[in-house]
Symmetry: C4
Subunit: 334 residues, 4 copies
């Protein structure tokens, strides 16, 4: 399957589902917000704005990395970007490898026109550093779309199931090298199987700008790839391999106390987001739930985002937190 066909199939499968983990959950349901019957503040005092990767966001929210390079990619990306601009949240693009390899795919990643000021984050697979990519490629990806930062995704399980690029040897060292050679902030992410504390500790010392724990409990990319390959799930146990988002977050927070963390993977509501902030995230990211709205257009995305952020605001208010930072710790095990 060529890269464009594969991307089309990804979208199809993600829309038809079910692509969620069958058994694993995010683990956020094991925590409850520490409700304060006397929050001692006004709902309108709650200020969601956040600095992230050098820009001010109206809320600690990123549209998750999803697409680009195929039929509907341009339309989806522009809808997401326009909404991000209007609402004031950040946006991660889907993997730009297709655009580096097929110049005609580039247009579907061009969203600066509709999102002139939004935090825009480019995206490439970390494994490409073992396939000839250098700092120059990373720079090209960022510059070509006018991004503010770059996300590199580490996805060995997805690649294994996809029979894709599975040479993950020596990547930590290569990552260390390119990080010193690019002028923009770089965020490292998984695609939904999660970073553990152990792996996070191995990243200590690298000049990363942020880590997106991208844990288990939402979209299982092993599952997506099985559905793409077989039209069914043949290795259901393998598709449940991963570290639940809540636990990934807790472990990474402990492992890397100073690094900004994004919580993603199965974040589905403002209440989920509030729990993630309470557990130590600086921001959350949501991917698949935005696919449907994006196909409908920017209005639908804006509506989705505003509803989500209204709930986040209400949830912070309910724990008496004036800001995302104040939410830290306002959570208890169920």
């Amino acid at each position: 399957m060529d890269i464009t066909a594969r991307k089309r199939k990804h979208l199809e499968v993600c829309l038809e589902g079910p692509v969620n983990y069958a058994r694993l959950t995010t683990g956020l349901e094991r925590y409850r917000l520490a409700y304060r019957a006397l929050p001692e503040l006004r709902l309108e005092d709650v200020d969601l704005s956040t600095r992230f990767l050098g820009k001010r966001l109206a809320a600690p929210f990123l549209i998750g990395a999803m697409t680009g390079g195929e039929e509907h990619g341009g339309r989806i990306n522009r809808a997401l970007a326009e909404a991000a601009e209007r609402v004031g949240v950040g946006m991660m693009l889907g993997s730009q490898r297709v655009m580096l390899e097929k110049p005609e795919a580039a247009s579907s990643f061009q969203v600066r026109e509709v999102a002139p000021t939004a935090l825009l984050i480019g995206n490439l697979g970390l494994v490409q550093l073992n396939r000839g990519y250098t700092a120059a490629h990373l720079r090209r990806a960022v510059e070509a779309v006018g991004a503010d930062a770059l996300a590199l995704h580490a996805n060995p399980l997805q690649e294994a199931v996809q029979r894709g690029d599975t040479d993950f040897a020596g990547l930590r060292a290569k990552l260390g090298q390119v990080l010193g050679e690019v002028p923009f902030p770089v965020l490292l992410k998984e695609v939904g199987h999660g970073f553990s504390g152990e792996v996070a500790r191995g990243l200590a010392g690298l000049p990363l700008a942020a880590l997106d724990v991208a844990g288990a409990g939402g979209t299982s990319w092993a599952r997506v790839e099985e559905l793409v390959r077989y039209g069914e799930v043949r290795h259901p146990e393998l598709c449940e391999v991963g570290l639940p988002t809540a636990q990934a977050l807790i472990e990474c927070r402990a492992a890397l106390p100073g690094l900004p963390l994004v919580a993603s993977g199965g974040i589905r509501s403002g209440t989920d987001a509030a729990k993630a902030l309470a557990l130590g995230a600086q921001a959350v990211a949501v991917a698949r739930p935005l696919l449907g709205p994006a196909l409908q257009g920017p209005e639908a995305v804006v509506e989705w985002l505003e509803d989500f952020l209204w709930e986040l605001r209400a949830a912070l208010y309910a724990v008496g937190a004036r800001t995302p930072a104040e939410a830290l710790g306002r959570v208890a095990a169920v």
Copy 2:
């Protein structure tokens, strides 16, 4: 929606349901009564009578705050009050703000005629202290209906979902002030999302007469307000925010050892009530289950109460407790 229409809608939604928490339970099911095969007493020795807010009750039971000011309000309140009088339990009125603002609504709160001696507790929203209410308003609420005491409800989550009065800043201080200016006992309550130990500790030093923990597991007022607003539940996770009644009770008991506590939120049977007493409550309150009987009339309420109290008596007997106070501690984790 004006305040009377809203109140009508509350009743409708509470009757049609489901307005119970979807996942959270009271936590009382995690405890079992410490059954004594040899209770060493007679069933008729069990004496449920209790002093509460300065009056003697035939049993440690309060009819929960519910209504007033709308179509059926008067009928419901009179049925509840007449039953309270006959059975000898206490009764909390619904929020009297409507009556302070619309004099024509006052009649629906007038129940002294049918309940000349019952413990009657008035009700106002704590947040109104930030909307101009003073000790004079509290006094007016109590005097206008001949109440013995006043309940103030703190309900930030309900207000947030309702897009209501969400200015909860500085309320602890204002509460402290008015408490010094009113001559009757004041009870502080939530509406079903619960007081935590942390929040309770913040109340230490205030001359409160009692605290109703009003925890999660029964009616979720976030849910009621979503159903009122949208006709459906749009933020299901937010509607599950709250502290289960059993845990709220345990935490508040530890935080405020000397303060009389009411356990409410999902109390549904005399056995539940016995567990609450065993976990440290001085009395329990029940709201929604009484709505149906109240619409049928005082007879139905009396019957409901007597059945509930028969079970409470049997449950205390089963743990060998002669009085509600003796039940303390006669419970074990499942």
Copy 3:
């Protein structure tokens, strides 16, 4: 309802059900037998025989107290007794109060003819000591049927639900007194709500011959009485009051290290019985499952018992225990 009618209704309700606890289980499912792949013995070496209340039993098994005094009582009792004799297990009769009060009911308890050597245990309610019964009544009950011992049942919850004899004041002292005045062994039992360690400690010093913990998880007698009274369960939470059999056993074993214990309440298989022995019981008792076979006749009861005991033998073999006593401790938490 007169006593004979009530007993007929008990049988009816127990046969139609469901009279089992709705939520509580025996807790035996939380333990697994410590299987030994190398038992180092022969299956035929397993010797189930046990001394209990002064007699030798072919197996540590008692047919639970059930009936007498009504229509089918005689037939049931004779079927059970004949089977007990043939298989070599013990048998508890149902409450003999009816026969002390209505002489014409006596015949239904007469089983010595068909069970000349079996361990036969009479039965009376402990609460009758507060209704005028003395050691003389106890002796009469035992002598009238030629029993070897007497079981006294403590059943305050059942009596409360039944609106029966609920004067349990001072019973420990009265029990102490009559125990000194009767020449036969006395066993104390509940009827399925269980003895706790706390209550058992209160029995220390009494010359009891054995204690049947009669815990929760099998037949709920509060439930039976609700079904008898209302034709439905009106107080479902009250019907779940009780201490699960496994826990009752563990607590009583710790409280009274020297006293022979019977485990009953929800014992349904030889594997359950083996777990009970492993947790410290000297014997088990089973009531309701034998009702159906008893109505069919002695053959059916013998078959039921032999099948049960075959499984018990296999289970002891599987943990490498040559005798019931050797099974002690061969169990682990799941």
Copy 4:
């Protein structure tokens, strides 16, 4: 039922099912693989090859002991053996007692022709040492089929339910003696009810080559035998006696740190296998899932095995383990 008829019935019952434990699971679901988003290796670097019982296997996998001596036995064994040879895994034969007793059954165990180099393991019941079998019989079993090693199965519960050979007295001593008299490696196994740490400790000092914990969670042989005997499960609790595979493995690993362990009983996927390796097994064995493919022929078995091993490889890659041995410990409690 004669031995050949019984074996035919075993196959039938195992194919029709359900013969899996009804409640017990392997316990592997309580563990998750410690996923590494940065495995720092190439998928093709993962080397599954393993030395086991003196031979090199392409992967740490044994086809479980299943059949021989009846109608389809020869066909099944040859299919399994041919596949084992092609894929490079080991194979355990079914019990060879039938062939020692009925010479005409021998041919169905002859698989060396189609599996000249594969690790081939003969099989006899340990209990036969109490029925006259000596080291000479063990040698005959191994030599007659050209096996590399012998598995002895200990199965007291199966034998009890089968009303088979239940004299397990003194077997540890007899095992110790024959082990000193045979020139080939001997593996001890259960048939799916598991070896506990306690029993394993009793094996310390014996010159065993390996122990297959053969725990609970997959095929319950008590259940199979009940289905063979009664056409239904009459003693469901007894059929759940056993130690879950994960726990058996953990206990045996602690009890016998130096002994190679096989994990079997309910191993159903490469992910399960990876968890077993992580918990301390040197290899896994799978029985019943291979029955269907074996009836179809060698191709189907090869396909099944390759798919299983592909998943095992992917799972090891996902935890960053280059070899089965490196997987040790890469697991965490859920």
